[in-house]
């Protein structure tokens, strides 16, 4: 799939959100999209998903089956979890028996079994996010687009996401994922796209093996410790307060 000199703005006269973006997503590739809040990550992902049309330029060779998990799943609509997922499976063209199998599989895998008959507006943010993840996977996607997929998920489901990504890649599909939590360190061999000031900088996958080391420091030394690690070329993924200390 190619993005060929893509420009996008939301209406005439508005500032450009994306400018002269040229990039390629290889089959079987994982791309992590990085950037600060409001940089245009979600816009870029929606452009690739086919939700938005470029104002200039072209997006070509988009795979036939695209799964898109938006940043916020639309929970403010009627129906139960099973009803919604079954309807979305039908929209994806699955026959009733295949739709039932797909819904059952993802309800089980994502731990939604206890929420089958719960109405969508009654779901917590995290459970709604799981439903959003499930709808994108009902038909095995050739291109899976995850916009901050770890947001609101419990630890058990967060751990499932890298496995799901690797399954898609193993089938020859591609995955794009935006992340500001540092969770994408668990996606080996991912290329990195950084969105800043409307432009896109791409970096090839890091071929060297990387490890995650958890280090505890005194709160008073935190800023110095983080600064020293960064000076030494290490990537600080996140800082958290130790609970119960």
């Amino acid at each position: 799939m190619h993005l060929d000199d893509v420009w996008l703005r939301y209406h005439r006269g508005a500032p450009w959100v994306l400018q002269a973006v040229t990039a390629r997503v290889e089959p079987g590739g994982i791309v992590v999209v990085l950037g600060r809040n409001g940089a245009g990550k979600s816009t870029l992902l929606q452009l690739i998903a086919g939700v938005l049309r470029p104002t200039r330029g072209r997006v070509t060779d988009r795979p036939a089956v695209v799964g898109w998990v938006p940043e916020r799943s639309p929970a403010d609509q009627t129906g139960t979890v099973t009803g919604y997922l079954s309807a979305m499976a039908a929209v994806r063209g699955l026959r009733p028996a295949a739709a039932t199998r797909a819904v059952d599989e993802w309800v089980q895998r994502l731990g939604l079994g206890g929420f089958r008959d719960v109405k969508l507006p009654e779901l917590s943010k995290g459970t709604a996010q799981k439903v959003g993840l499930a709808q994108a996977l009902l038909a095995p996607p050739d291109l899976l687009i995850l916009d901050e997929p770890w947001e609101g998920l419990d630890a058990a489901t967060r751990d499932l996401v890298p496995g799901i990504v690797l399954e898609v890649v193993a089938r020859g599909g591609s995955v794009l994922v935006s992340d500001h939590r540092g969770e994408t360190v668990r996606l080996p061999g991912a290329a990195t796209w950084t969105v800043a000031d409307g432009t896109l900088a791409t970096a090839a996958p890091d071929t060297g093996q990387r490890c995650v080391v958890e280090v505890a420091v005194e709160a008073a030394d935190l800023a110095d410790a983080v600064a020293r690690l960064r000076e030494q070329g290490h990537q600080v993924l996140r800082v958290r307060e130790e609970v119960g200390s």
């Binding site: 998903a49 086919g50 938006p70 799943s73 639309p74 609509q77 009627t78 129906g79 309807a87 929209v91």
Partner: protein
């Protein structure tokens, strides 16, 4: 595409949003048929005219039920912007057929019409035809006023009201530009004064062209305003 149309129709009914236009239709039809018996053929012509803004409003409500993000998800799931747009129009047309069925049945239930010189099947056929002439343009106008295009409730209401008023005003006899609006008034005149088969075909072609042009404008705006 049919599955998405069904999903949207279910959402329209299950959220209870279908109730308001149905009550409005019943109220308008009660007023229309409350003043004594009229000839059914003529009454159906007026009925189609007054039901037109209701059908357009109903279409706007149906298309606005779905959250914006869900509409985008549907587009990705279908893999086609065109199919997603057509699915919405199909759902609105199906809902409109339900309202038309009510509009055709109410006068007989309430005793507000008499058959006149025409047979009942012929009257029902003319009634269905004249309401269908209103359905296409109403769905197209309602779609054009939906949130996906107009973005704000005020603009949506303005498009809906302006379109409905112009359809009547520019359709009056002696209008300088009757071709700018769907042939609702002309269809009403056809049912009251009669006309040839050629007139009926011309009215049908006019309504179909107006529907196609407005639906094209809707689709174009939808593709540029996500």
């Amino acid at each position: 595409m049919i599955a998405l149309a069904r999903m949207r129709l279910h959402g329209f009914v299950r959220t209870g949003r279908a109730v308001a236009p149905l009550i409005a239709a019943l109220a308008v039809l009660s007023i229309l048929y409350g003043g004594g018996q009229a000839e059914a053929r003529e009454a159906y012509g007026v009925s189609a005219l007054v039901v037109f803004p209701l059908l357009a409003w109903q279409t706007k409500i149906l298309l606005d039920v779905e959250p914006d993000v869900q509409r985008r998800l549907a587009r990705v799931a279908l893999g086609s912007a065109r199919h997603e747009i057509v699915a919405g129009l199909l759902a609105a047309a199906a809902a409109g057929l339900g309202t038309i069925a009510v509009a055709l049945a109410v006068p007989w239930i309430s005793g507000g019409v008499k058959t006149g010189p025409d047979s009942l099947p012929r009257i029902l056929l003319i009634g269905l035809g004249v309401h269908l002439l209103a359905l296409g343009p109403a769905v197209a106008l309602g779609a054009l006023s939906s949130r996906a295009v107009t973005r704000t409730a005020g603009t949506g209401a303005a498009v809906l009201v302006t379109g409905s008023v112009l359809a009547i005003v520019l359709g009056l006899q002696g209008s300088p530009a009757p071709w700018l609006v769907p042939p609702l008034m002309a269809a009403t005149r056809f049912t009251t004064s009669g006309g040839s088969t050629l007139t009926a075909l011309t009215l049908t072609a006019h309504a179909a062209l107006w529907t196609a042009a407005t639906a094209w404008a809707y689709a174009h705006l939808r593709r540029t305003r996500t």
